[in-house]
Symmetry: C2
Subunit: 241 residues, 2 copies
Amino acid sequence: MALITDARLPLHIRVRDELLRRISDRIWTAGEALPGEDRLAAELSISVGTMRKVIQSLVQEGVLERVHGKGTFVTSAFERTSMLRFVRFRGPGENTLPKATILQLTTKKASGEIASKLQLKPGASVIYMHRSRSYDDEVVLVEHIWLSHKRFSKLLPYLQTESPPLLYPVYDSVCGVLVHRAIDELEMDSISSEDAKVFDVPVNSSCMRIERVMHDHAGDVVEWRVSFVPANRFHYTVEIR
Amino acid sequence: MALITDARLPLHIRVRDELLRRISDRIWTAGEALPGEDRLAAELSISVGTMRKVIQSLVQEGVLERVHGKGTFVTSAFERTSMLRFVRFRGPGENTLPKATILQLTTKKASGEIASKLQLKPGASVIYMHRSRSYDDEVVLVEHIWLSHKRFSKLLPYLQTESPPLLYPVYDSVCGVLVHRAIDELEMDSISSEDAKVFDVPVNSSCMRIERVMHDHAGDVVEWRVSFVPANRFHYTVEIR
DNA sequence: CAGTGGTCTAGACCACTCC
DNA sequence: GAGTGGTCTAGACCACTGA
């Protein structure tokens, strides 16, 4: 087995790219153990020390997880990336996921803004989804989601019959798209008339607006999403080091 | 030179503790280069590889910074921890710091809540500071800050004549307290009558409330701070991986 | 027990910075 | 050129997991 990328790059970078490629290509899937570090190193003709260093850096980034005595596993990063980390949990049990309701699901031509966010040509075919998340019929989150139709065409028939609480695992299992890294931008806003009906609160109530650009392992944009959380439901904790 | 901590712990943990102790004790100060990794390893009678691993982990955490060919330096983590990362910059130049105005500075007996946050006994002596931050006389941030009087007594005379834009470097230089790690909790709130006057906006205007607990390298609580940002000035970007 | 990751060492060679 | 960190190797030994 040979490494593909530019031989002028440091070896650990090239090995890292190779491992990420295998994860992207689903050669190794979430929950499955990778080969041992010694066998991986032998396969790529590098030293075990270098392989360890690469694996450690991917563990640091949350791509892999290691368990002493058991093995190295691909992380399913879905909890970490859930929008629910911005929502204050009360009422029902701590670990219950809120019910997802798809309010609208259509295919459109991308406007200039959406094309730009998704790195597509203006007019390209995109999927738009309007979705609410609720606990005991109290809506805590509303999402407006845009996806490339080309990459997510299999999603449409799937969502005719299903309304799963988490979408990212579905992107993975149905469309073969594994999400990796997101950038969230938070601002305070007021609720639009459209979403006010969904939340059942007055128009212009105070809320948080969370704009997310989600990337895959290759760094390409996978999804653009704008979410709204009512003021009294918003809560966010962050550690700075 | 011998390591102090429990010899049953892994060596890299003990070395890490030793390095952090030296930073806490100001044996190495911000901006100054540490000895080379080979000399450090020799001094502590460990291999260079292990020393490298420890240093790398502290770089990862933001405690140290390395520059190829120059050396390893203690990070001055003040930009990273500034509350201004929650404030949207417009108007004036990008890199100008807003003017700080101390509105109130007193010594009090800690209430139960404040004592609990600062890990002090109720009734212990604490410093309370009420401070505003403004660009061109537009207030963008108001802070309510509590500190242990015992640890920060030197701050009071200093702040009689100075109103520095950043406090953490002052904690370091005047009181010998080096901040390290903070936990911020964000919620949406409305502006109190007291702060409404400072911001010159109506009472109950929408704002972000940011509660911060700041720790030092030893993990002890250094400061408790509650800050408010008006809705139109709040902006926050976060990357999830 | 075999297989996995975790710890630690010793040393070679390269690349960058500053004098 | 001297000193720094960056890359890479080779191998020993330990600790945890599961059959």
